[in-house]
C-alpha cells in the first residue's frame, strides 16, 4: 500500500518536473523563434530600403536624362536647318539617343521598384535578382502609395514615349513636354516620399527591435520564475523525503526497541519457565504426598479415638494398620520429601521474584529518566535478562570496581549493555564456545567511569569496523537485525550521557567495547518554591 502511494507521488513529482521543463523549453524556443523572425524582417527591411534607394537613384537618373534630352533636343532643333553644322547636329542627335535610352532604362527600373514595393515581386537590379516583399505596414506604405498614386496614371505615357522614340526616332513634343512637366512637378515629392519611406522603415525596425527586446526580457523573467518555482518545488519534495526518511528512521528505532523488548520477554519467559516447571511439579507431589500423610494421620487418629473411648477390640485391629501406614511413610521418607519439595518450591518462587525485580530494574519503567544509579547494578540486571542467550556457550567473567553512583538513564544504559552483550554472544556463537568479560573501572585520565565489554568471538573485520555505528548497518541476514542497535547505543551514550563509545577488534581474537561515562553527580537542586519572597 505505502509503496503504491509512494510510487504515485513519485510519478506526480516527475510529471511536475516535466511540466516545468517543457515550460522552460517553450520560453527559450519562443525567444529563438522571435529572433529568427526578427532577422527575417530585418532582411526584408534592408531589401526594401535597398529597393527604395535604387528607386530614388533611378528616378533621379531618369529625371536628369529627360532634362538632358530636352535641352539637347532644343539645341538640335536650333542647328537642324543649318547645313554647316550637320556634324554637330549629328552629335546632338547621338546624345539625344543615348540620354533617351538611359531615360527609358531608368524609368523602367523605377516602374519596377514602385510595383515591387507596392505589390511585391522579383526585380533585377544591376544584374542581381531580388525578391522584394510588398510593404505591409501602413505607416510606411502610405509613402509608397503616394508615389504609386502619382506614378501609375502616367506610367504608360512616360514609358510609352521612350518606346515610341526607340521605334520611330521621333519625339512627340507634347508628350515630351507632358513628361517633363510630370517630372518637374513630382521630382521633389517623389524624393521626399522616398526619403520619408526609408526613415519610416528605420523607425519601424527600431520599434520592432524594442518590442522584441521587451518580449525577450519578459521571457527571461518568466523562465527565471519557472526556474525558481522548480527549485522551490524540488526543495519541498526533498524536505518531504527527508521527513519520510526521518519517520522511517524513528520507526526503525522503535522496532529496535521492540526487538530488544522481545528478546527480553523471550529470555524472561525461558528463565521463568524453569522455576515455574519445578515449582508446579513440587506442589503436585506435595499434594499427592499429603494425601498419603492424611490417610496415615487418619488411621493414627482412629487409634487414639478408640483408645480414648475404650473400644479396645477395635484398637487391636487399627493399631497394626496405622503402624503399617506410618512405617510406609517413614520408609519412603515422605516427610523429608515434602520438606525438601517445599524448600525448593520456595526457592523457585524466590527465583521468579528475583527475575521480576531484575526485569523492573532492567526496564526502570516506574522511575524517571535521569537518576542516580549504580552502573554495576545495571550490568547485573542486564546479565540476568541476557542469561538465556549466554548460558549455553558463553562463560561470563565479571570484574567490577567500586563505583560511585552517577547521574544516568539506567533503562537506556541497560539497552546499550544488552545490545553489546547480545552482539558478543552472537560473535562467540560463530566460534562455538567462548568468554565474555565485563569490567568496570574509573578512568585514570578523567572523571569518567569505564565499562568494558570484551569477548573472544570472531572479531570485526577492519573493512567494516568504521561502519558498525552507522544506522542500518548489519552483518546479520535480512529480517534478523535492524542494524540500528549500535547506532542507537552510540546515540544513547553520546547524546544522552555526553559520553563516548569506542571499539577495538582483532579478527579471530575478539572485540572490546569501551563505554566512557562522565561522572556527573549533581542532580538538579530541589526547591520548595519557585522563588522565595524576601522576608523582612
Amino acid at each position: 500500500m505505502a509503496g503504491k502511494k509512494d510510487n504515485q507521488q513519485l510519478t506526480f513529482q516527475y510529471t511536475e518536473l516535466a511540466i516545468y521543463g517543457v515550460l522552460f523549453l517553450a520560453l527559450v524556443a519562443a525567444v529563438f523563434v522571435l529572433n529568427i523572425n526578427l532577422s527575417d524582417e530585418s532582411r526584408r527591411d534592408s531589401e526594401q530600403i535597398f529597393c527604395a534607394t535604387k528607386q530614388q537613384e533611378y528616378w533621379g537618373r531618369a529625371y536628369r536624362s529627360l532634362l538632358k534630352t530636352q535641352t539637347t533636343l532644343a539645341e538640335y532643333e536650333l542647328i537642324m536647318g543649318d547645313s554647316t553644322q550637320l556634324e554637330l547636329a549629328e552629335q546632338k542627335r547621338a546624345i539625344i539617343d543615348s540620354s533617351f535610352h538611359l531615360y527609358r532604362r531608368s524609368i523602367e527600373v523605377f516602374d519596377g521598384t514602385v510595383k515591387a514595393l507596392d505589390k511585391g515581386g522579383k526585380i533585377t537590379l544591376e544584374g542581381v535578382e531580388y525578391k522584394i516583399d510588398a510593404v505591409q505596414d501602413e505607416r510606411a506604405r502610405k509613402y509608397i502609395m503616394d508615389i504609386a498614386g502619382r506614378w501609375y496614371p502616367r506610367a504608360d505615357s512616360l514609358i510609352g514615349i521612350a518606346h515610341q522614340y526607340e521605334g520611330t526616332r521621333k519625339l512627340n513634343p507634347d508628350m515630351l513636354l507632358a513628361a517633363i512637366d510630370f517630372a518637374v512637378q513630382n521630382d521633389e515629392l517623389i524624393l521626399a516620399d522616398n526619403r520619408d519611406f526609408i526613415v519610416k522603415l528605420g523607425e519601424l525596425a527600431t520599434e520592432r527591435q524594442n518590442r522584441l527586446q521587451t518580449i525577450q526580457v519578459i521571457a527571461l523573467v518568466a523562465s527565471i520564475v519557472v526556474f525558481a518555482l522548480m527549485a522551490v518545488r524540488l526543495t519541498i519534495s526533498l524536505r518531504r523525503q527527508a521527513k519520510v526518511i526521518q519517520e522511517s528512521q524513528s520507526q526503525l528505532v522503535q522496532s529496535e526497541k521492540m526487538a530488544s523488548l522481545g528478546q527480553m520477554v523471550a529470555g524472561l519467559a525461558h528463565e521463568m519457565n524453569t522455576p515455574l516447571g519445578f515449582v508446579r511439579n513440587n506442589v503436585e507431589i506435595i499434594r499427592e504426598n499429603e494425601k498419603e500423610m492424611q490417610a496415615a494421620f487418619h488411621s493414627a487418629n482412629t487409634v487414639l479415638k478408640d483408645l480414648v473411648e475404650g473400644k479396645y477390640s477395635e484398637v487391636e485391629k487399627a493399631i497394626p494398620e496405622a503402624i503399617k501406614k506410618l512405617d510406609e511413610l517413614e520408609k519412603i521418607g515422605i516427610v523429608e520429601e515434602n520438606k525438601m519439595m517445599i524448600e525448593s518450591a520456595l526457592q523457585g518462587i524466590d527465583r521468579i521474584q528475583e527475575l521480576i525485580v531484575n526485569l523492573k530494574n532492567f526496564s526502570r519503567l516506574d522511575q524517571s529518566m535521569m537518576q542516580m544509579a549504580d552502573v554495576n547494578e545495571c550490568l547485573d540486571s542486564t546479565l540476568v535478562i541476557a542469561n538465556h542467550i549466554l548460558k549455553r556457550h558463553v562463560t561470563v567473567h565479571k570484574e567490577y570496581a567500586q563505583l560511585p553512583k552517577i547521574l544516568c538513564a539506567p533503562a537506556q544504559l541497560n539497552q546499550v549493555f544488552l545490545n553489546l552483550i547480545t552482539n558478543a554472544a552472537h560473535a562467540i556463537e560463530k566460534k562455538g564456545q567462548g568468554n565474555l568479560w565485563i569490567k568496570t573501572y574509573m578512568s585514570t585520565k578523567a572523571a569518567e567511569i569505564v565499562v568494558q565489554v570484551s569477548d573472544d568471538g570472531t572479531g570485526i573485520p577492519k573493512e567494516i569496523i568504521n561502519k558498525i555505528f552507522d544506522p542500518f548497518f548489519t552483518t546479520k541476514p535480512v529480517g534478523q537485525g535492524t542494524g540500528m542497535g549500535l547506532s542507537i547505543s552510540k546515540k544513547i551514550i553520546e547524546e544522552g550521557h555526553k559520553g563516548r563509545i569506542e571499539v577495538k577488534s582483532v579478527v579471530g581474537k575478539g572485540t572490546d567495547f569501551f563505554i566512557y561515562l562522565p561522572m556527573k553527580t549533581e542532580v538538579k537542586e530541589e526547591k520548595v518554591f519557585e522563588s522565595v519572597p524576601a522576608i523582612n
Binding site: A266, G267, A269, H270, N273, T274, P275, L276, G277, F278, R280, N281, N282, E284, I285, E288, I332, E337, M340, M341, S344, Q347, G348, H388, K391, R392, H393
Partner: protein
Amino acid sequence: MTPSQPNINILLVDDEPLVLQSLSATFRRQYNVFTATNGKDAIEIVRQNHIHVVLSDQRMPGMLGHEVLRIIKTISPGTIRILLTGYSDLDAIMNSVNSGEVFRYLTKPWKVDQLRETVSAAAEIALKVSQVYPDRAEILKNKASVPVEEIVEEEPPPPPLEQQDYLLIVEFNREQLNTMVKVFEKKYKVLPAGSIQEAFELLSKHPVAVMVTDLNLNSEDGMDFLYAVKQEYPNIVTILLTQVRDALLAIKSINEFQVYRYHVKPCSVEDLDKTIQSAFARARTYKLQPSRNIHAIAQQVAPKIIEQQATERGNWWREKLRAAKKLFGIG
C-alpha cells in the same frame, strides 16, 4: 498410584539441579532414577547402564538437548527419548525436529499426570523394544571408546529395494499435485490423490510405504486425516509438506501422528527426494523389524495416549477408512 517397576531405569537430564530434584521425586517410587546435569554425563550414564527412557531438557550449557538425544539414539537405539522444551526454544526445535526422531516433545511447565503418563508409555515401549536389542553389550563395547563428538547416526543397512512399494502423494491443489507426480514418477511408483476419499481408496488398494501430504486438504483438517491413516496403517512413513512453518504444529504432528519429517513449501526437489528415499528405507526397516517402529508399539501398549488426542472428525474419518478398506480390501 502406578505400580512400582524398579527394573526400569530412567535418566533425567537438566542443568538445573532443582528441576532434577523435583523430577526425581516424581519418578523415584516407580523407577530407578539416574540424573545428569549435562549432555556428556548423560551419554556416559547411557553407556554404562541400560537406560529405558531418557527425559532431557533442550537448553543446556554445552550440548543442546536434541543433540544429546541424537547421540543416545546411536549408542542405545532401544532407549525411548523425550525432550522437554521451553516455548522460546520452539524455533530451535523446528530445526531439530527432523533429525531427532524423538518420541515426544513436552513443553514447560508440564503437568505431572501428563508427564507420568508419557514416561510410563515410553517405559512400556522400551521394555518391548529391549527384547529386540539383546546384543546391547556389544554395541556398547564398540562405541565405548569413541569420543562423543565423533558418534554419528547410523541407520541399519537398508534392505534391498522392493518394487511393490508405493509413494502416495496427497495434495488438494491439482496443479501442485501434477508437478510433484511429474518430478517423482520416474523414480517411484507414485499414487496421486487430490482428496481424502481418493487417498483412502488408493490406500486400500495398494501397499503404500511412504505418504507425502499437505495439512491443508480442502477445508478438512489434515490432522484428522493423519490420525485416521496412522491408526489404520501405522507402518506408513509420513512426510508433511506444508506452507505453515509452525513449530507447535510440527511438534503436535510428531507427538500425535508420528510424522517422520516436516518440510516447508516451497522446498528443493533434492531435499524432498532425499527425505522420500530415507522414508522408504525407514518403511522397510519397520517391515523387517517391527519393533523399530516405536509409535506402532505405543499404539499397542498404550492406545489410550494416542486415542485421547483424537477428535470426533478424526474418528469419523477413521471409520470411513475402515469402510474403504473393507470395500477395496487387500487385507
